[in-house]
């Protein structure tokens, strides 16, 4: 596609479609003659008001791409080039980054305000009271040292003027691109038009985003600066750990997280009631399916098939939900933790492996080094 746009190849634009020169080939020539002779082309053209093959200055062109479809889907067709064009456009118009993303990230809000309160100590003393979202942010602020720069960013965040100016600037721009006129044009000319059209698309979408961002910032105008600083810190780092509960943003999947709970060391007993001390580990669940508990670290346990990292915990009668909700995340983590801590029965030796050596000839995981 890029090569086509960078070329001097003559193209035809008609009714918002790009027509490419037809290859000169005897077989194709024969087919074309047959189409024209039988009038199929004319019939189809009238029906659809579009011709598959057109003649222009005695040259034949074949219908290839819809230019609107190309603009709409370019982000998917060539993500790398689209992002380059987008970044150029954002720089040209000095449009701010996406700090407010966290305020719109529903998954993170679920983890932060619904899952985390279940696993961390919130109350002091003997009273049990419900914590508001602000209370949770206060608690994070108390337990995590937020670097100074996020407090500065919070002050910037709460100042709406620069964003308003950008929005006004965008509103003054002509956010429209006229499709090229019907007729012949070179690949390079089409490219110039195409890049303008992409810029219009980016600016239109940025206009929407900034209008939304401004709305969010207005909502948080009265919020405590330390709360904004905490949220900006989370947006930037994408991870946090308090009282052994934590989450971390997934690098490969945008907007997805790994939520985990750290176990402390625990003891399991074998068939002969001998004790084995298991080291701590992190039981996790991802926010994208499958919603099954697994151990992050390299770990061994009767319910893990191997001795390696990222292994799913083998659990009986557990049907993972397809829906992402706080309740399901909590349930999945609890099932995983309970299985590791309390699920193994030394007498029944349930699991992939037995704690005591049972099979002489079948290779299995050895737990002798955990014996106490």
């Amino acid at each position: 596609m890029k090569r086509l746009l960078d070329s001097d190849l003559e193209l035809v634009v008609e009714s918002n479609f790009i027509y490419l020169p037809l290859l000169f080939d005897p077989e194709i020539e024969k087919e074309i003659q047959s189409i024209f002779r039988h009038g199929k082309q004319t019939e189809n053209s009238e029906q659809l008001d579009l011709k598959t093959i057109i003649k222009h200055q005695d040259k034949l062109f074949i219908k290839a791409l819809n230019i609107h479809s190309l603009i709409e889907n370019y982000e998917v067709i060539n993500a790398c080039d689209y992002n380059r064009l987008r970044n150029d456009c954002l720089m040209k118009y000095q449009i701010a980054g996406e700090e407010e993303g966290i305020f719109l990230d529903e998954t993170l809000r679920i983890i932060l305000f619904q899952v985390m309160p279940h696993f961390i100590k919130k109350n002091q003393g003997l009273v049990r009271k419900k914590f508001s979202d602000e209370g949770i942010l206060d608690l994070i602020n108390k337990k995590i040292k937020i670097p100074e720069k996020y407090y500065n960013n919070a002050a910037t965040f709460q100042n709406l003027e620069p964003l308003k100016k950008i929005l006004e600037g965008l509103e003054n721009e002509t956010l429209m691109s006229t499709p090229p006129k019907n007729g012949i044009l070179t690949g390079r000319k089409l490219r110039d038009w195409f890049y303008d059209a992409i810029q219009v698309k980016v600016l239109t979408s940025e206009h929407r985003r900034i209008a939304q961002a401004l709305k969010v910032r207005k909502q948080f105008r009265q919020a405590k600066p330390e709360h904004i600083a905490t949220l900006l810190y989370l947006s930037d780092t994408g991870s946090i750990e308090i009282d052994g509960f934590g989450f971390t943003r997934h690098n490969a999947y945008k907007g997805e997280y790994l939520v985990y709970k750290r176990t402390e060391g625990y003891i399991l007993k074998d068939y002969y009631a001998r004790s084995y001390l298991f080291p701590e580990c992190r039981v996790a669940v991802s926010t994208y399916s499958p919603f099954r508990p697994f151990v992050i670290e390299k770990y061994k346990h009767p319910f893990l098939l191997d001795h390696k990292s990222g292994q799913e915990i083998c659990i009986k009668d557990f049907v993972p939900s397809n829906e992402l909700s706080a309740k399901n995340i909590i349930r999945t983590l609890e099932e995983g933790l309970t299985a590791l801590h309390y699920g193994y029965n030394g007498r029944r030796r349930n699991g992939y492996h037995s704690l005591d050596k049972m099979w002489v000839h079948i290779p299995t995981i050895d737990f002798e080094d955990y014996r106490i």
Binding site: H118, F119, I120, K121, K122, N123, G125, L126, R128, K129, K130, D243, F245, K261, Y266, I267, P302, F303, I313, C314, I315, K316, D317, F318, L333, E334, E335, L337, T338, A339, L340, H341, Y342, G343, Y344, N345, R348, R349, N350, G351, Y352
Partner: protein, 124 residues
Amino acid sequence: MSDIDLKKELQMDEAEKLLPLVLEIIPGHAAEGLIDIYEPGSYTAKSLKKLCDKTLNKKNLSIEEQLIVEDIKRQLDGGKLLSRGQEIEGTALEFAVSEQTEAGEKYLYIPIRAIKPQEGGLGS
């Protein structure tokens, strides 16, 4: 100091039997549970199981406490109460450890988890 050492120390220190007992029943692997306080002398002759039943049947709970009790009962549907990985058979003093508030007041504390069993593996 291990739990066994702590228990021995408790047995030796008769004065500690005069401390109030704080019982916390925690649903699953949550961080916080339902708290109940027993005055000195009110718990010594009773089994820990009985104390737990009494705590779970407490009236006049706040909405937050009622939600915790619901969660505990959900776990106990086929589950059991465990303290430090052991079933709660015996008296409260056998499981209690001595702690103190920020103000320096001593009390005995027993954390109990309501755990719904989860069997893993392939079975036998």
